[in-house]
């Protein structure tokens, strides 16, 4: 960190750090905010998908006559008549946009069926009702082929997972199995987690409008720039003629990061019928065409001496991808960083199934990996008769456990100290089942949260007018994080202007390219660009002012200039080399601790979460209000993961059996207590402005904290998520 950066991160700020109301709040509470399915065009047609009902096979015939006869139907596109689309590109590190191909399937260019639910036809009609009705009347005939569908049955056939430049898959230090055998105290547990789905409340929707070779797409996407490039490539048109608009995205959580079938088929349909087309997926269609989180099985074995000092950590995992694509989930990733031990063995395995590709969902790897390692640590504390907080503190590493790299910043001890005090942890009776409140068994649990911190290059321009108004332009994505709000705060402070005079333009591919919103990278990445652009702008204005006093706007006026614009463009190769060099010596992360209290009905097994406290070490906070909301949001999603969420896949047919919000239970108001969030607000000396991304860290550790509290309340260790009441009832 250079001196200027240190100074910047600790300089007094008018807006950074303050609980500023979000700038798009008014548009969202009045209904003015228009999402992807809410843009009207004259002559707009509506599309609906027809989904395969077999897991693997070929379409031998497809009868569309009845569908075509429905009044209002304009066309029915199948592999027999759809216009050509170029096949999805293979991933290339030279063009990172190739990463957004969610599957390898070239929809409607093939008679092959690769999963149960794959779109095999698109109906376009004058109304959404006609399209949906007609879609139900399309009759495909399949020749079925054998399919591999059952994760539990296939798990023994898993193969080693490949790592990549940014994500090592395995680690070996010492001889963990031998150390485990020699350890006086051990636990050796097998965990399972089910598939989960993002269920952003806005179902995926695309409105596609062609004008010759020019294409405009309204899309709820986490990845504006890469989607534009992908569409240009797939439809063989110049990238500059493609415009992606996503000013509002109704939640993403990873589910809108990749390019899935609906987007492509809306654009294809619009081209085929020569009219603007809207494809608003039904909730079930989202389940059938957008991947979710992989299920997992995990083994965690820990060996310790009688004082609780770890001698061995073993964490292995099996997850799944689809045969047609998917991201191998880095389930043991957090265990590389959590606890000191002389012997560590980490392995990740994967099976390929004939199911839709899986994809990233909030904290891929850490969310489910921490359930296993943090539950096992708790169980080890029971074995040792030691306070689980104390066990963690005794094993808190000075350097990164697997390779001895330095931490850029790590304040877990401080987080535990603050959390222990604020939660009243010491007041608990450590015995299982000892705390009661009438019919409720009360338990308290604790767990650590961890997520890596990263920065990606962002292009940003900043314009300062002689009237003092500032416009920050960057194609960033806002899907609820408060992304535009925090960048406005940063720019206002950098330029010393009132927040009200800063406008951030975003959500449009015609703006300078931002990285996608994913991996908790966006805020710090764009902040670096905003700061650099503001610096450049200030230098220009100072030159104009020739040392004379006055505000920047006054200098512009005196110089007879209407405005000044500064733009910064990232140099990707240089950036990648710097990142990789830094990763060779430094580990950066967001981390934190969760404390929770649960109540378990002694007769029915009903589990209620009654108190929650999180303390996070997430660098400097830009907006105290939106940051707290985002950290709470991760915890709420973690509560669902812990207690109620589970995607049920029929192992015989590969069909998702509960593709609806009625049958997949996300947390509701009544499931969520008041969540007390604290952060240490200590800048990270290696990150722009000292910021660390906060979008994912808080979901990590949540399920373990709940499981550990349930263990304390009932004496039952639940190893299989979700923790439903049948699993805690005796017998």
């Amino acid at each position: 960190m250079t001196t200027t950066e240190t100074e910047r991160a600790t300089a007094p700020a008018a807006y950074v750090g303050k609980p500023v109301d979000r700038v798009d709040g008014r548009a969202k509470v009045t209904g003015e905010a228009r999402f992807a399915a809410e843009h009207h065009y004259p002559d707009l047609a509506h599309a609906a998908l027809v989904h395969a009902t077999v897991a693997r096979g070929r379409i031998t015939a497809i009868d569309t006559a009845e569908a075509r006869a429905v009044p209002g139907v304009i066309d029915v596109l199948t592999h027999e008549n759809a216009p050509a689309m170029k096949p999805p590109p293979k991933f290339s590190p030279l063009d990172l946009s190739t990463f957004v191909s969610a599957t390898s399937v070239n929809y409607l260019a093939t008679d092959e069926v690769h999963w149960n639910g794959q779109p095999v036809a698109v109906v376009v009609a004058e109304t959404p009702q006609a399209a949906r009705h007609a879609a139900a009347l399309v009759r495909p005939v399949y020749q079925e082929l054998p399919a591999v569908l059952d994760f539990a049955a296939e798990e023994p056939n898993a193969v080693p997972q490949k790592g990549n430049l940014l994500q090592e898959s395995e680690a070996d230090k010492g001889d963990a199995e031998a150390a485990l055998k020699a350890a006086p105290v051990t636990v050796d547990l097998r965990f399972t987690t089910p598939p989960y789905h993002h269920n952003a409340l806005e179902p995926h929707a695309t409105t596609a409008v062609w004008d010759g070779d020019r294409l405009t797409v309204h899309e709820g996407t986490q990845n504006i720039a890469w989607l534009r490039r992908h569409l240009a490539m797939r439809f063989g048109v110049p990238e500059r003629g493609v415009r992606v608009l996503a000013p509002y995205v109704g939640g993403g959580f990873g589910g809108k990061a990749m390019v899935w079938a609906g987007t492509l088929l809306a654009v294809l349909a619009a081209r085929a019928v020569g009219r603007p087309v809207r494809l608003a997926l039904s909730r079930a269609a989202v389940y059938h065409t957008v991947g979710g989180r992989t299920p997992s099985t995990q083994r965690v074995a820990l060996g310790a001496d009688a004082d609780g000092r770890l001698s061995a950590i073993v964490h292995t995992s099996v997850s799944r991808t689809g045969r047609i694509g998917g991201m191998p989930e880095p389930i043991t990733a957090a265990t590389r960083h959590l606890y000191a031990a002389p012997n560590i063995h980490l392995r990740q395995h994967v099976v390929e199934l004939d199911l839709l590709a899986n994809t990233a969902m909030r904290a891929p790897g850490e969310a489910i990996g921490t359930f296993a390692i943090e539950s096992a640590m708790d169980e080890l504390a029971w074995e040792l008769g030691l306070d689980p907080v104390e066990l963690r503190l005794r094993n808190e590493p000075e350097r990164n456990p697997v390779d001895g790299k330095r931490f850029s910043r790590r304040l877990l001890r401080e987080a535990y100290a603050l959390g222990t005090e604020r939660f009243g942890w010491r007041d608990r009776d450590p015995r299982a089942g000892a705390m009661r409140d009438g019919r409720w068994l009360v338990g308290m649990g604790v767990a650590t949260a961890y997520h890596p911190a990263m920065v990606l290059p962002a292009n940003v321009s900043v314009r300062l007018g002689a009237d003092g108004r500032v416009v920050v332009r960057c194609g960033l994505q806002e899907m609820g994080m408060g992304a535009a709000t925090v960048q406005a705060q940063i720019a206002a402070d950098e330029l010393g202007v009132p927040l009200e005079s800063v406008r951030v333009e975003y959500g449009d591919s015609s703006l300078p390219d931002a990285p996608g919103a994913g991996g908790s990278t966006q805020t710090a990445s764009v902040a670096a660009g905003v700061v650099a652009a503001c610096d450049k702008l200030k230098r220009t204005v100072r030159r104009l002012g020739r040392g004379a006093p006055g505000t920047y706007a006054e200098i512009l006026t005196r110089a007879g200039r209407d405005h000044v614009t500064a733009e910064v463009k990232a140099n990707m190769p240089v950036f990648m080399i710097r990142t990789l060099l830094e990763r060779r010596r430094l580990v950066k992360a967001a981390c934190g601790v969760h404390f929770c209290e649960v109540r378990v009905d002694r007769d029915t097994g009903e589990i209620r979460v009654s108190r929650w406290l999180g303390v996070f070490d997430v660098g400097r906070i830009v907006n105290a209000k939106t940051a707290a909301s985002q950290l709470r949001g991760g915890i709420v999603m973690g509560l669902g993961m812990a207690l109620s969420e589970e995607t049920l896949v029929d192992p015989r047919t590969g069909r998702i059996m509960n593709p609806s919000l009625a049958d997949y239970h996300v947390p509701v108001h009544a499931d969520v207590p008041s969540i007390d969030v604290h952060y240490l607000d200590e800048p990270d000396p290696t990150m722009p402005l000292g910021l660390v991304g906060i979008g994912e860290v808080s979901i990590a550790g949540v399920a373990a904290a709940v499981a550990n509290a349930v263990r304390h309340a009932t004496g039952v260790r639940v190893l299989d998520l979700p923790i439903t009441l049948d699993k805690v009832l005796p017998g």
């Binding site: 109301d21 979000r22 798009d24 709040g25 008014r26 548009a27 969202k28 509470v29 009045t30 209904g31 003015e32 905010a33 228009r34 999402f35 399915a37 809410e38 109304t127 959404p128 009702q129 993002h198 269920n199 952003a200 409340l201 806005e202 179902p203 509002y248 995205v249 109704g250 939640g251 993403g252 959580f253 608003a280 039904s282 909730r283 899907m479 609820g480 994080m481 408060g482 209000k625 939106t626 707290a628 909301s629 985002q630 709470r632 949001g633 991760g634 915890i635 709420v636 999603m637 609806s660 919000l661 009625a662 996300v666 947390p667 509701v668 108001h669 009544a670 969520v672 008041s674 969540i675």
Partner: protein
């Protein structure tokens, strides 16, 4: 049908839901669709002051009724309270949460119950038909409490 105070004469097929009518034909896109089956509450509107899931309602059933969407309640103190307490993130469930809360407060008042009994637990219970996947529940409850004070 009266929508947000204006008389609307509409010719609509019997299978069109109230949500689709409001969104697609009247352009009232403050009415959101998260599930189209009454499970998420994003499409909540007020029909003669009562909160309903407009995706589960056929438009023709509401012939002659007074329909109010988020556009029709603007400006409302709850909206300011949602912003102040950050009772939203992505904003997709927000109009439904606001309409639902307005309906809920009216139900509670009409029942003759003691307004003081509307504590956090009671608000959560009564608002549980409105999902928020971003997890802004704490802020929503705080915003509702704020306007009842």
């Amino acid at each position: 049908m009266r929508v947000n105070g204006a008389e609307e004469k509409l010719d609509v097929e019997p299978w069109v839901s109230l949500a689709d009518l409001l969104r697609d034909r009247l352009g009232l896109t403050g009415v959101k669709k998260g599930c189209d089956q009454g499970a998420c509450g994003a499409c909540t509107v007020l029909a003669d002051g009562m909160r309903i899931n407009s995706c589960l309602a056929l438009a023709v059933q509401y012939d002659g009724k007074e329909i109010t969407t988020v556009e029709g309640v603007t400006p409302h103190p709850l909206q300011e309270a949602f912003v102040r307490h950050d009772g939203l993130q992505c904003g997709y469930c927000t109009p439904g949460q606001i309409c639902s809360a307005i309906g809920m407060l009216a139900e509670h008042a009409a029942s003759g119950a003691d307004p003081a009994a509307l504590d956090e637990a009671e608000i959560r219970e009564r608002m549980s038909g409105n999902l928020c996947r971003c997890g802004a529940y704490n802020g929503i409850v705080d915003a509702i409490k704020d306007v009842t004070r």
